[in-house]
Subunit: 430 residues, 2 copies
Amino acid sequence: MALATAETTTTLDFGPAVALSCRECGTRFDLGPIFACAECFGPLEVAYTWSSPGETGTAVTREQIASGPSNIWRYRGLLPVPADVASRPNLAPGWTKLVKADNLARELGLRSLHVKDDSGNPTHSFKDRVVAIALEAARNFGFHTLSCSSTGNLAGAVTAAAARAGLDACVFIPSDLEEAKIVMASVYGGRLVGIEGTYDDVNRFCSELIGDPLGDKWGFVNVNLRPYYAEGSRTLAFEIAEQLGWRLPEQIVIPVASGSQLTKIDKGFRELIKLGLVEDRPYKVFGAQAEGCSPVSAAFKAGHDIVRPVKPDTIAKSLAIGNPADGPYVLDIARRSGGAVEDVTDAEVVDAIRLLARTEGIFAETAGGVTVGVLRKLVSNGLLDPEAETVVLNTGDGLKTLDAVSAEARPTAVIRPSLDAFRTAVADHS
Amino acid sequence: MALATAETTTTLDFGPAVALSCRECGTRFDLGPIFACAECFGPLEVAYTWSSPGETGTAVTREQIASGPSNIWRYRGLLPVPADVASRPNLAPGWTKLVKADNLARELGLRSLHVKDDSGNPTHSFKDRVVAIALEAARNFGFHTLSCSSTGNLAGAVTAAAARAGLDACVFIPSDLEEAKIVMASVYGGRLVGIEGTYDDVNRFCSELIGDPLGDKWGFVNVNLRPYYAEGSRTLAFEIAEQLGWRLPEQIVIPVASGSQLTKIDKGFRELIKLGLVEDRPYKVFGAQAEGCSPVSAAFKAGHDIVRPVKPDTIAKSLAIGNPADGPYVLDIARRSGGAVEDVTDAEVVDAIRLLARTEGIFAETAGGVTVGVLRKLVSNGLLDPEAETVVLNTGDGLKTLDAVSAEARPTAVIRPSLDAFRTAVADHS
């Protein structure tokens, strides 16, 4: 995959982004559809005017942000997108609710808890955030097709975004995904291709395709557009801080699939401090995995710096990445901040989904069951301070993983329409 | 169901609401959990300080509204709720997207089209709006249980709202509903009771229950709390006007189940004019039904003033009310405004769901397929002016009615993870 052509380059507009920078060796590259450092193969990330030490180079203020739209484009001055992004056809995700979860806090013995509920996004997962940024990169580079490897949520987010933006879509998923995710990913048009294998097989296949003429002019949001895509997760950090009244939480529990989301939320918090938008105070970052796919949690507990790949086996399919690219960064952030990485069983995931639903009226995807389940576990094993202000993420929607709870979430009774029948049924169930 | 006790009455706080008023004979009643006029059995609706002719009695301004929260409570000064409602535990619905639908407009030959997408609500349907208002009424009247008869969306909205508010819930649905709606309505806790019969059977059963000691201190959101509940639909009118820049659309297409939503949106538009919040200009109201449950459309086409009940048979189950209480009002509003009531077949509903998805990236419930399908039909039969500014409602979420599209929304191909397999599959499908 070459850099953009000279013609395209002249019209590149990434707003405050100035370069790509290697996270390992710091080498800088021109903004382009590249994702690995030519020097050391480290991952590239977007550098902004304020990225260098000592630089503050942006005048973004709380007031400017507050006067922006009720979506992620209120932070356009902090994102690699053109200034007029809000007026272009996209799904305008974000600005989801930060729910004050007093009932759940009481059940868990916490003093202050909020749920950041990303099921309110257009396709009902946090993936709309990252895709919206990748879409602008695809437009910048003149790509005609939007693509991805996906555990399901991303496929729907990509096909929906492409539909609205008028791009073609061709997305790849493991063929055994939840029915709801399959239907959702194909209803928006474009091509949906099921791959016989795990997500890691799908990912390897996409890496092959990207070097093939078949994939020419394709923007794989989580491969060749990954540096831009990943920046979208920072909007979760920005929103949480703004919704808390421009304050960082003291503790945050984040799901870990590839680890990118956790890494970027931490980056977002640090940027807010650097830019003077929030007070500099310590915060602890906790990663959450399902036991059936817990390579990062296992490494954390064993005190390792590297993450040994696993073959996933869990109902939390949206987190089922056995070889998480950003695993080492997650370990580093959890350790540096005084947090932890923990995992829960599938049964605990289901319990946690039901707990969140009956206490706060939020129906979470299995990934939300993982974070709430891990939150509960962290309280009981003493790793999380019950007196500190805590935020837990729900990144998806229960309607997409119905099977997780459908055996237990049934009608109390089915009766004829008569008071006598109801009286009997009530007596049976009270 | 008696009026609230004296003790409760002393603490009633319905904000700007001052009474209940009969829509037929105008007789006024104290605010209470009643829904039918003691004089003429007409439906009661909430009267405000500004409701009488000549009265304006509110100082609500655009600026006050704009400074409110990003949910329906920004309009609390226009709703029967206490001033501190935003700080009480509820789902804070509303402020959903008004999507500028240029792609769909182009396909249909319209100059200006917006989709008001209520799938963005907390339980992914417009019902969260009406339930949030009914919840405040239930609290005012000291009820301990929130209840309803439902075609599915309402049951989930009620059980979720009750969970967050700390009330009990007991909700009633036809037992043959979509799986997603059954799981969603029961996951939040409370009791979900399936009734062997149609929605109209469920409704009749609830009317019996409300007069029985079993139903004492129960707030049936769409029966004894109906006057408050129904007011919530006005927030759709307020949001559409505000999101258009404080302007009424020239044409609006609204689904018709009981007809309450259409009636209340019209009421909301007229109130905005009366209160000076928008310019007084004519607008046309169009009602949309599925052919398999089209009693109001049939009456409109036949020139009748009364609506003959039907037995529903359509995939649009959330609109499957065969005996719509507000049918005559819908007829009146459609005729008075120069609009119409139209219906589409189930096949047209499915086509319209897919059309909306592939043009705008919005995955609608069958009810959204009905409105978009009717919009298309109204353009082709000349009843809708393609040059006038039009808004169409999507009131629910495609994830709840997957079966409608699951036969057609399938993967393009399922392949082994190899470029050769993909090359073959692409060749097969291009």
